[in-house]
C-alpha cells in the first residue's frame, strides 16, 4: 500500500460500515422475507423420542385439513437412499452412518424429522403437522460417551458395529516433530525434581444460537433451481446439493441473502434444505420452510461436547516437558459437514504458545443419540485453548508460582519466530511479551493481586480471582495441501473478481459469504487502496452463486486472511492490465508509468490518466494496443501458504461470593494481536462478540439432556444466552505484529475472542476460591456449581438436584421473576 501522506490509505481506517444503512432501517432481505407467488410451506414432523423404531405413521387427519397439499415421508420423496454429506473423513477407516433427510425406520435423536407436511400457509402446515400421528417403539438411548464405547453398549447405528466414529492420534515422537510424551511423563514420574499433573475437563455441549432462525426458499420455476437459504456456505451447498441429489451443479443457483449470524451453526447441508429441494422438484412450486427457535435449538447442530483428560509433566523449576491429551468427543447421532474434524482441529493447538518438547494427542469420536455436533465459533481451538490454559494455572498452583510467570517461562520468545511447533506448524510471527505487558498494565495486574491478597487476609465474603488466558490459534482456513493431508474433502482457497465499470465504479466479487462480519466495508477499503478509487465507489457483491460463481465461503476466520488477499491479487492484475492500455493512450512506455492514488503518471512529466479514465477508454475500445483484450476485469484464486496465528493476552477479574457462589465479572481486559487491522472498528466489534460467546460458555450456557435423551432447555427461556445485563463493558486493545504470510499482514479475528475468553473466566473463578481448596468448577460456572465446589472442598455434604444449570441469575436476564421490567405483562 502507498504510505505517502496523500492520499490517505483506506486500510487501517475505522470506517463505519456500509452495510448498516439497510440493517438499521429495516430494508433487509432475510430469507424469511421472501415468498414468491405460489409458494407452499413445509413443516417438519419431528420425533419427540431420542431413539426408537418408527412402527407407523398416520397422516390421514393431517391430510384432511384445508390447505394441506400432502404429507410425505422419506419414501414418498424418494429420499430413503439420500445421505447428507460429511466432507471430513478424518481417518480412512472412519465409520459414517447414512444421514437421511428424514428418518427411515429408526429415529436417532429427539428432534429428527420423520415426515413433512406441505400446505398453502406456514400456519396450516404447522397445524397439520400436529395431527400426524407417529407410533414409536422406544429403544435404549445412548447418552454417555464413555459408556457408549464399552463392550455391549447399545449401538446408535447397529450396522456400523460400534459407537466409535473414529480414533485419531498424533504423537510428536512418531512424527519426528518432538519427543515422546509418554517417555517425558514417565521420566517425570520417577524424577523427584519433576511433577506430573493430571486433570479432567468437560467441554459442555453448546448451541450456536445465531439470532436469525434458518429459513429456506427453493424455487423450481425457471431454468435453474434457486435455493435461497440462511447459510454461511452457499458455494459448498451448491456443490453438495448436486452430489447429494444428483442435480447437475450448473442447474443449481444458491443465494445467501442477508444472513443473521452463523457462528458455525450455518455451515451445513441441512435436512431442511434438501427436503425443500426435493419437495420443490416434486410439486413444481416454490417451497418455503422457516424454523421456529425451538426447532433450531433442538435440531440444528450443536457444538463442543468433549471430555478432556490431560497429563502435563514439568520440571519443578516450571519448565514444561511433556503433554498428553486424550479426548472423547460427542458426534451426536450423525455426521454433519465437518463434525468428525472439529476436535481434530484442536490437536494442533493444545501446545498453544508454549515450547512443549513432547506431545501426544488422541481423540475418540463417539456416536450418541443426541443432536449432531459440528462447527461452533472456534471449532476445536476453544476446547484446546481451554485445556492448556487451565493446565498452566494448575501447574503454577502446584509450584506455588504466579501463573503469568510460569507462562512467560514457557512461551515462544518474540525473537524465536518463525517457530516450528511440536505439531509441525510454523508460527510466522507473534509477540507474546508485548501483548501481555500491555494487557497487564491496562488491567493493573499488580494492583489487583494486592487486592486479592488483602481480601484473602481479611476473609472477605466476596473473594477476588484473576483469570489469565494467553492464547494463540490457527485460522485463515486454509492451505489446500494441508487440508488434503488431513483428508478434508475440499481445498482452502478463496476467489475474488474486480470489475471496472464504464462509469468508473468498481464491483468487487468475493467468494467469501459474509453474514454480519462487515465484508462489504472492509473489502471496499482494500479495493479503494489497491485501485486508488474512492471507498464509496466500490460495491461488494457476494452470496449468490450466479454473481459470485466461485468461492469456499466464510468460516474459520478465513474471509480476510484468504479472501481479502485474493482481492489484493485481483486488483494487482487490474492495475497491470490498465497499465498497458494507459501506456498506449499516453504514448509512453509501461516502464515509464508510475501508479499512485489511482493515477498512471508518466515519470518526469505532468502527463497522466486516472484509472477510471482508462476504464472508460477500455469500455469504448476505440483505441487499445494490439494483442490484448479490451477489458480491465480480473479474477484471482488465492491459496494461502500457511494458517494465520493471531494471539493475545486476556485477563479477567472475577468476584465470587463464597456464601452463595454468585460470580461477578468485574473487569475484562484483552490485548489481541491480529496482525494489521484493515478496519480497527470492525476488529474490535469481532472481539467483543467473541468474548461474549466465550464468557457465555464459562458462565451461562449448556445444552442439557434428560435421561431419556430429550433436550430439556431447547428454548430461549432456558438456554440462557447472556443479555446486556449479564455482561460488563470490555477493555480491548491491540498490538500489531503483521503476519509475514500475506501481503496485508493480516490474521483472522472472527473466533479469537471466543477462543481466548472461556479459560480466562474459569481460571479467574477458580483463582478466587482456590485458597478454599477448589481446583475445578465445571462449566458453566453457575452460582450453584461454584457453591457446590466450595462446599465439597470444605468437606461439607450437599444435596443432589437433578438439573443444576438453571439457578436464578445464570444468565436469565430477560425473565428474572424478581425484575419483570421490560417484559410485556
Amino acid at each position: 500500500m502507498t504510505t505517502t501522506a496523500e492520499p490517505t490509505t483506506e486500510v487501517g481506517k475505522s470506517r463505519v460500515r456500509k452495510e448498516d444503512a439497510r440493517l438499521i432501517t429495516g430494508r433487509t432481505r432475510w430469507t424469511d422475507n421472501l415468498t414468491p407467488p405460489g409458494t407452499l410451506h413445509l413443516a417438519v414432523v419431528r420425533s419427540p423420542i431420542s431413539h426408537a423404531k418408527i412402527t407407523g405413521i398416520d397422516a390421514e387427519a393431517a391430510r384432511q385439513l384445508p390447505g394441506v397439499i400432502g404429507v410425505y415421508t422419506a419414501a414418498d420423496l424418494g429420499a430413503e437412499a439420500v445421505g447428507l454429506p460429511c466432507a471430513w473423513p478424518v481417518t480412512p477407516d472412519m465409520k459414517a452412518p447414512q444421514r437421511p433427510p428424514l428418518a427411515v425406520g429408526t429415529v436417532h435423536f429427539a428432534g429428527e424429522g420423520v415426515a413433512v407436511v406441505i400446505a398453502r400457509s406456514a400456519a396450516e402446515a404447522r397445524d397439520a403437522s400436529d395431527l400426524v400421528e407417529v407410533d414409536y417403539d422406544p429403544l435404549e438411548p445412548v447418552l454417555d460417551m464413555e459408556e457408549a464405547v464399552k463392550e455391549g453398549a447399545t449401538l446408535v447405528h447397529p450396522d456400523l458395529g460400534t459407537n466409535v466414529n473414529a480414533f485419531w492420534a498424533f504423537d510428536s515422537g512418531e512424527a519426528g516433530t518432538g519427543g515422546s510424551a509418554a517417555d517425558a511423563i514417565a521420566a517425570a514420574e520417577s524424577d523427584p525434581d519433576s511433577i506430573v499433573i493430571k486433570r479432567r475437563f468437560i467441554q459442555q455441549r453448546l448451541i450456536p444460537a445465531f439470532m436469525e432462525p434458518r429459513s429456506i426458499v427453493v424455487d423450481p420455476t425457471g431454468e435453474q433451481l434457486t435455493i435461497t437459504t440462511s447459510t454461511q456456505v452457499p458455494h459448498i451447498l451448491r456443490t453438495m446439493t448436486s452430489v447429494v441429489l444428483g442435480i447437475p451443479e450448473s442447474k443449481i443457483r444458491v443465494i445467501a441473502p442477508d444472513v443473521g449470524g452463523g457462528f458455525g451453526g450455518k455451515i451445513h447441508v441441512s435436512p431442511e434444505e434438501m427436503l425443500c429441494t426435493l419437495a420443490a422438484q416434486k410439486l413444481g412450486k416454490p417451497i418455503k420452510h422457516t424454523e421456529t427457535r425451538s426447532e433450531s435449538l433442538l435440531a440444528a447442530h450443536h457444538g463442543r461436547d468433549q471430555i478432556q483428560d490431560l497429563t502435563l509433566s514439568a520440571k519443578k523449576d516450571g519448565t514444561v516437558t511433556g503433554l498428553h491429551v486424550a479426548l472423547v468427543a460427542d458426534m451426536g447421532s450423525y455426521l454433519g459437514l465437518v463434525t468428525p474434524g472439529v476436535p481434530i482441529l484442536g490437536a494442533f493447538m493444545f501446545n498453544a504458545i508454549y515450547k512443549i518438547p513432547a506431545y501426544h494427542f488422541e481423540c475418540t469420536n463417539v456416536f450418541t443419540t443426541k443432536t449432531l455436533t459440528d462447527a461452533y465459533r472456534g471449532a476445536g481451538r476453544p476446547e484446546a485453548t481451554f485445556g492448556i490454559e487451565r493446565m498452566m494455572d494448575e501447574l503454577a498452583d502446584e509450584l506455588g508460582r504466579d501463573p503469568m510467570e510460569v507462562r512467560q517461562q514457557n512461551w515462544i520468545k518474540h525473537e524465536e519466530f518463525p517457530f516450528t511447533t511440536v505439531c509441525g506448524l510454523t508460527y510466522d510471527s507473534g509477540n507474546y511479551e508485548a501483548a501481555t505487558q500491555k494487557a497487564m498494565e491496562l488491567f493493573d495486574y499488580a494492583g489487583l493481586r494486592r487486592e486479592q491478597e488483602e481480601r484473602r487476609r481479611n476473609g472477605d465474603k466476596v473473594q477476588l480471582g484473576i483469570g489469565i488466558s494467553t492464547f494463540t490459534e490457527m485460522c485463515g482456513l486454509a492451505p489446500s495441501r494441508v487440508l488434503g493431508s488431513l483428508s478434508y474433502g475440499a481445498g482452502g482457497w478463496e476467489s475474488a473478481s474486480v470489475r471496472m465499470l464504464a462509469t468508473g465504479k468498481v464491483e468487487v466479487v468475493t467468494g467469501a459469504s459474509g453474514h454480519g462480519q462487515g465484508h462489504e466495508t472492509a473489502w471496499s477499503q482494500i479495493a479503494a487502496d489497491a485501485l486508488g478509487v474512492p471507498f464509496e465507489d466500490v460495491e461488494v457483491l457476494h452470496g449468490d452463486t450466479q454473481v459470485s460463481p466461485k468461492g469456499l465461503d466464510t468460516y474459520g476466520s478465513r474471509s480476510l486472511a484468504v479472501g481479502g488477499i485474493a482481492l489484493v491479487k485481483a486488483a494487482e492484475k487490474v492495475v497491470e492490465k490498465a497499465r498497458k492500455i494507459a501506456a498506449h493512450l499516453l504514448e509512453a512506455s509501461e516502464d515509464d508509468l508510475e501508479f499512485s492514488g489511482g493515477k498512471f503518471s508518466v515519470k518526469g512529466t505532468d502527463k497522466g490518466m486516472l484509472i477510471q479514465e482508462v476504464a472508460f477508454a477500455t469500455f469504448m475500445a476505440h483505441n487499445y494496443p494490439e494483442g490484448i483484450e479490451p477489458s480491465l476485469d480480473a479474477d484471482y484464486t488465492y491459496d494461502p501458504e500457511n494458517f494465520s496465528f493471531p494471539h493475545g493476552t486476556h485477563l479477567a477479574a472475577m468476584e465470587v461470593d463464597t456464601e452463595t457462589g454468585r460470580v461477578n465479572l468485574r473487569k475484562y481486559v484483552c490485548v489481541d494481536d491480529v496482525g494489521s487491522a484493515v478496519n480497527p472498528l470492525i476488529v474490535e466489534g469481532q472481539i467483543h462478540g467473541g468474548l461474549a460467546q466465550g464468557i457465555a460458555q464459562a458462565l451461562f450456557e449448556e445444552a442439557n439432556y434428560d435421561e431419556q435423551g430429550t433436550l430439556v432447555n431447547g428454548t430461549f427461556v432456558d438456554y440462557t444466552l447472556p443479555s446486556a445485563a449479564d455482561l460488563p463493558s470490555f477493555t480491548t486493545d491491540r498490538t500489531e505484529t503483521p503476519a509475514t504470510s500475506n501481503p496485508l499482514g493480516v490474521k483472522g479475528v472472527g473466533e479469537a475472542g471466543t477462543i481466548a475468553s472461556t479459560p480466562a473466566i474459569v481460571n479467574g473463578v477458580i483463582d478466587a476460591v482456590r485458597h478454599l481448596g477448589v481446583n475445578e468448577v465445571p462449566m458453566p460456572c453457575t452460582p450453584q456449581r461454584v457453591w457446590r465446589a466450595i462446599q465439597e472442598a470444605q468437606g461439607r455434604s450437599t444435596q443432589e438436584t437433578p438439573v443444576d444449570t438453571h439457578s436464578p441469575g445464570a444468565g436469565l436476564g430477560s425473565i428474572d421473576p424478581n425484575n419483570p421490567q421490560g417484559e410485556v405483562q
Partner: protein
C-alpha cells in the same frame, strides 16, 4: 375472522385477520413490514419489538386484534424525511450491529428506554435492553450507542413526539 383497524408507520389499515394471528405476522405477512423480524417463539429475544401507542412491545406477544385502534411504529417508520432517528444514527456510528437481525428490535427498545429515562447510566441501559438478545456484539457497542444517542437527543431535541400514553396490549383482554 376478526377485523382490525390499525395505523402502522403513519398509514391506516383495515383488515380481516384470524383471531390468533400475532401482530408480528400481521406486520410481516399482511403489511409487508419485513423490517420487523421473528427471532424466537418464547418472547425472549425481542427482535420483533415495535411501539404500540408509543410504548415498546414484543410484537410476537401481541395479537393483531389487540392492536385494533392503535398506532404502531416499526423500525421502518422512525426515520423522518430521509433523516435517520438519532438512535439509528448512533447504532451506525458506534458500530452497534453486526448481522443486524436483532437491530430493529434493539433500536425500538432503546428509543423506548430513552423515552422513560433520557440520560441512563451504563447499568440502566443494560437493564433497559435486557429483554433484547444480541449474539454478535457482546452488547458493548450497543450500550455505547444508546448512551451516545441520549446525549444527542438531550436538550429537547427529541424527534419522536411522545404519543398519548395508552394501555399497552400484550396481556389481559
Amino acid at each position: 375472522m376478526a377485523q382490525v383497524r390499525v395505523t402502522v408507520d403513519g398509514v391506516n389499515y383495515a383488515d380481516d385477520v384470524e383471531p390468533r394471528m400475532l401482530l408480528v405476522y400481521y406486520l410481516r405477512e399482511r403489511l409487508g413490514k419485513t423490517g420487523t423480524v421473528v427471532g424466537c417463539d418464547t418472547s425472549n429475544c425481542g427482535a420483533c419489538t415495535v411501539h404500540l401507542n408509543g410504548q415498546s412491545v414484543k410484537s410476537c406477544s401481541v395479537l393483531a386484534v389487540q392492536a385494533d385502534g392503535a398506532e404502531v411504529t416499526t423500525i421502518e417508520g422512525i426515520a423522518r424525511d430521509g433523516k435517520l432517528h438519532p438512535v439509528q444514527q448512533a447504532f451506525h456510528e458506534e458500530h452497534a450491529l453486526q448481522c443486524g437481525f436483532c437491530t430493529p428490535g434493539m433500536i425500538m427498545q432503546a428509543i423506548d428506554l430513552l423515552g422513560d429515562n433520557p440520560d441512563p447510566d451504563e447499568r440502566e441501559v443494560r437493564e433497559g435492553i435486557e429483554g433484547n438478545l444480541c449474539r454478535c456484539t457482546g452488547y458493548h457497542n450497543i450500550v455505547k450507542a444508546v448512551r451516545s444517542a441520549a446525549q444527542k437527543m438531550k436538550p429537547g431535541a427529541v424527534s419522536t413526539p411522545e404519543q398519548t400514553p395508552a394501555p399497552v396490549a400484550g396481556g389481559g383482554s
